[in-house]
């Protein structure tokens, strides 16, 4: 009953979305506000309806109705409640519904705002949101129906279908397949919703961009309206990517966090264009420049969001994550093609209207550096896109598939990322308009000197201890740019807070707090940069200085790595309450004879035959000691194989990510009331940073 109800509400919502599109079009071209209003209301109705659809599916999942194919695929009796709830996005059909539901939620939220100043945008925002929603609902309705049920035909076959096939009766399986245990990690539960939130949120700025193009209101109004949407979208996307990396590190047992898998890249590409967009719009707001860029970037982001969803669904590329192939591939491809072509056509139509309001004269000016920022991000995007497309291209052209792996991405994007980190350090000190090396030099020489000192110290340390490392020179460059940017960013904080504390006679830290509160965007941004720099530190550590070793040991024996000694103490085997068979080893960690603690790497075998290797990890600020109990068939508590990774500096990656997220929250928070102008502090030395 619930399955039919769910399906019914889905069909109804689909029709409503189609109505919204046509009513908006009609209302816009006939200049009839009532039709537009009707479209807006019907779009708002999609949210409660889709909530009913989703609630039906969740009910079926939670009650374990194994007559429904999707419920059979992603749940089983043994799963706890919270996992049954989150299995909504544990499979293709459910996650497509989840996408639609999120889209309806955001579209409704947008239509609830005050539209007085921007009436002409409304119909187009409704159209774009409804088209996107209708597409995803269409996929559910025509290709991947979450409400399909099983039927047993007269000849004993079991068939999934929406409507009963001839001469068949409903069939309910005794139990479901259940979610892959690898997905039962907190990170894996939040990671898909975070990514989808990011993806779906980016549709809103895109909708406004299209509205701006169609209506000819190509000033920065659309950017100002969607500024916070874009920032929140970016926050969720970033969080989703970081969580995916953390999950991989915790549970996949290969000592890494990012494999340059096509599906990882699929989610990374919209992040790249989205980050460029977030920065580039500031230049349009402040100087009326880079207008074409902003349109291109948001159109690209939308296309990449849909493309990202497409890559994980169509099985076009073989990757560890790829969802099973199905017929929805061509639909995605067509949708992306059509929307991209229409967007570009609109852009070309309005090209002249997007003329810059000012000129870029100096290559070292802030606006020029932001242009460079766009170019670097696009460069990385092109590299990623190339790497992902290359196997398909090579197959088309040469007949055999040629792939590229992590070495390609690392080699090609490494220099670009390093340039970006350096740019993060230089750009905040740049001035608008006329700039020379001299003016920039004056602004930067103090933090630059400190950074050079740190780099010299790091280089000395590296030459003494890691002279044989094949990445030595790259790590020195990497540390160099990290130190420059860290010093510049901290210097900016310090300089402004000191000036303010002097002018206001405030305590330094209070001044810092008030400063950040008054200009959340800038100081939130600086905090994010600081977070990125720390993440870069962690990445350099683990990518260039990771070491590993493996050994099969008897109880009492030890394995050594990076100055640590790991002694195999004991092994225990037992059955866990959820039915899995756990093999758990205990090892003791020593360094220089000093006992540091015990770790418990383990190997779980789930009832369905799915094994999982969980490392024992000792995390400190300077490194991770990552110990794996290698799985093997057969029980032998006397001898066990271990693999150990030493990951220097890796926790800076996670710490940096936390600071990064914190900074984004600061930047996204609504602005506090500005203080009276008379009390604004002016810094005596160096270039003033961009005026607000």
């Amino acid at each position: 009953m619930f399955a039919n109800f769910g399906y019914g509400t889905l069909v109804l919502t689909f029709i409503l979305a189609l109505y919204s599109i046509f009513a908006s079009l009609f209302g816009y071209f006939r200049k009839n506000q009532q039709w537009v209003e009707s479209a807006r209301l019907s779009m708002q109705l999609t949210f409660p309806l889709l909530s009913l659809t989703s609630a039906s599916l969740i009910y079926l999942l939670v009650t374990g109705d194994f007559n429904v194919k999707f419920v059979y695929e992603v749940t089983n009796r043994a799963m706890p409640l919270y996992l049954k709830l989150t299995s909504w996005w544990g499979g293709q059909a459910g996650s497509l519904l989840f996408w639609s539901w999120l889209m309806s939620a955001f579209a409704t939220a947008v239509t609830l705002r005050k539209w007085d100043r921007d009436r002409e945008f409304l119909p187009w925002v409704v159209i774009v949101s409804s088209v996107t929603m209708a597409f995803f609902m269409g996929l559910n309705l025509f290709f991947e129906n979450p409400f399909e049920t099983f039927w047993q035909t007269f000849d004993g076959k079991i068939v999934p279908a929406l409507i009963a096939p001839a001469r068949s009766i409903p069939f309910t399986a005794p139990d479901g397949q259940g979610l892959n245990p690898l997905l039962r990690h907190p990170g894996m539960i939040i990671h898909p919703p975070m990514l989808y939130l990011g993806f779906v949120s980016f549709v809103i700025p895109f909708a406004f961009a299209i509205a701006a193009l169609v209506t000819g209101r190509t000033d920065d109004r659309w950017i100002r309206i969607t500024r916070r949407w874009a920032l929140w979208a970016w926050l969720f996307l970033s969080l989703g990517l970081v969580l995916g990396g953390r999950w991989a590190y915790d549970v996949l047992g290969w000592g890494g966090y990012w494999g340059w898998d096509p599906v990882e890249i699929a989610a990374f590409m919209p992040w790249l264009s989205g980050t460029a967009f977030l920065h580039s719009v500031m230049i349009q707001e402040k100087r009326g420049l880079l207008k074409h860029w902003n349109m291109i970037l948001i159109v690209l982001t939308y296309a990449l969001v849909i493309f990202g969803t497409f890559l994980t669904r169509s099985g076009v590329l073989s990757s560890v994550h790829a969802f099973a192939q199905s017929a929805i591939g061509p639909s995605f491809f067509t949708f992306i093609g059509v929307t991209f072509v229409v967007s570009i056509a609109l852009l070309l139509w309005r090209w002249a209207d997007l003329k810059s309001e000012a000129q870029m004269t100096s290559m070292l000016s802030r606006e020029a550096l932001f242009l460079l920022n766009n170019l670097l991000f696009m460069g990385i995007l092109v590299v990623c896109f190339w790497g992902v497309i290359f196997p398909l291209l090579s197959e088309l052209v040469t007949g055999s598939k040629v792939t590229v792996g992590p070495p390609f991405y690392e080699r090609a994007t490494g220099p670009l990322f390093a340039a970006l980190v350096l740019l993060m350090g230089i750009a905040p000190l740049s001035a608008w308009g006329h700039s020379t090396w001299k003016t920039l030099g004056r602004a930067i020489w103090k933090p630059l000197t400190v950074a050079l000192l740190f780099t010299a110290a790091a280089t000395t340390y590296l030459l003494l201890n890691h002279a044989n490392n094949e990445y030595l020179i790259y790590s020195i460059i990497g540390f160099g740019v990290v130190f420059v940017t860290a010093c510049v960013t901290l210097y900016e904080f310090w300089r402004a807070a000191r000036a303010r504390s002097r002018a206001q006679k405030e305590n330094f830290f209070l001044a810092l707090w008030r400063l950040a509160g008054r200009n959340r965007r800038r100081y939130g941004g600086y905090t994010i940069h600081l977070g990125v720099v720390l993440m870069a530190l962690g990445i350099i550590g683990i990518e260039m200085f990771q070491t590993e070793t493996q050994r099969t040991m008897k109880i009492g024996e030890s394995i050594e790595i990076a100055g640590y000694t790991i002694r195999y103490d004991s092994l225990a085997q037992f059955e866990h309450t959820d039915g899995r068979w756990v093999t758990r080893a205990e090892v003791s960690v020593f360094r220089g004879g000093e006992f540091l603690g015990t770790l418990a790497p383990r190997y779980d075998m789930y009832p369905d035959g799915q094994p999982m290797t969980i490392p024992g990890v000792r995390s400190t600020i300077q490194d991770d000691l990552y110990v794996l109990l290698v799985n093997w068939e057969g029980v032998n508590s006397q001898v066990a194989p271990f693999k150990v990774y030493h990951n220097p500096l890796v926790n800076w990656l996670w710490l940096g990510a936390i600071i990064f997220i914190f900074g984004t929250l600061v930047a996204a928070w609504p602005e506090a009331d500005p203080e009276p102008v008379a009390l604004r502090p002016r810094s005596a030395a160096a270039q003033p940073s961009a005026a607000d």
Binding site: L182, V320, H321, V630
Partner: protein, 161 residues
């Protein structure tokens, strides 16, 4: 815009474009690997010796042996077509993998891998291996990836009783 600054910007942009193109091409050349099926690799075996390639195949469960002392994992993979359309018509990836393993006349490849045995390793799993073909006809894998099983084609439940 006066000509001088414009030229500067255009040149700068071209420079970056050139840098990116250079990075892409040099990295592709350095790291591109053929992605072959078992049959393709066996056909080209002699010319592939010592070259970095990527191969995919269906794991034959019975053939999996693992020596925990040396961490040497040996197994055989059966040929699976690389053509997605063909996989579709044959009934989906799970069915194709199953067919590959039970068909005795299917092309096979012996693989050797030293390291941690992956959790997803089992009969009929799809393995994607990167490594070099040895002169002895055995594939020496440096990297072993296994496909995430939840995402296999709609599995139909077994009939009850």
């Amino acid at each position: 815009m006066s000509p001088s600054p414009r030229i500067k910007f255009v040149l700068g942009g071209l420079l970056i474009l050139a840098a990116v193109v250079y990075l892409i091409f040099s990295s592709t050349q350095a790291s591109a690997q053929y992605f072959l099926t078992v049959d393709e690799l066996n056909d080209k075996a002699s010319s592939m010796v010592g070259r970095d390639v990527r191969v995919s195949g269906a794991i034959v469960g019975d053939s999996i042996t693992y020596d925990p002392n040396t961490l040497e994992l040996k197994f055989t993979v059966a040929h699976v077509t690389g053509d997605n359309a063909e996989i579709e018509t044959l009934g989906g990836l799970a069915a194709v993998l199953h067919q590959a393993v039970i068909d005795p006349s299917r092309g096979r490849l012996q693989v050797v891998y030293v390291g941690v045995k992956p959790d997803l390793m089992r009969n009929e799993a799809q393995a994607i291996m990167t490594g070099k073909m040895g002169a002895d006809g055995v594939f020496h894998a440096d990297e072993l990836l296994l496909k995430c099983p939840t995402k296999y084609e709609q599995a139909v439940p077994e009939q009850a009783q």
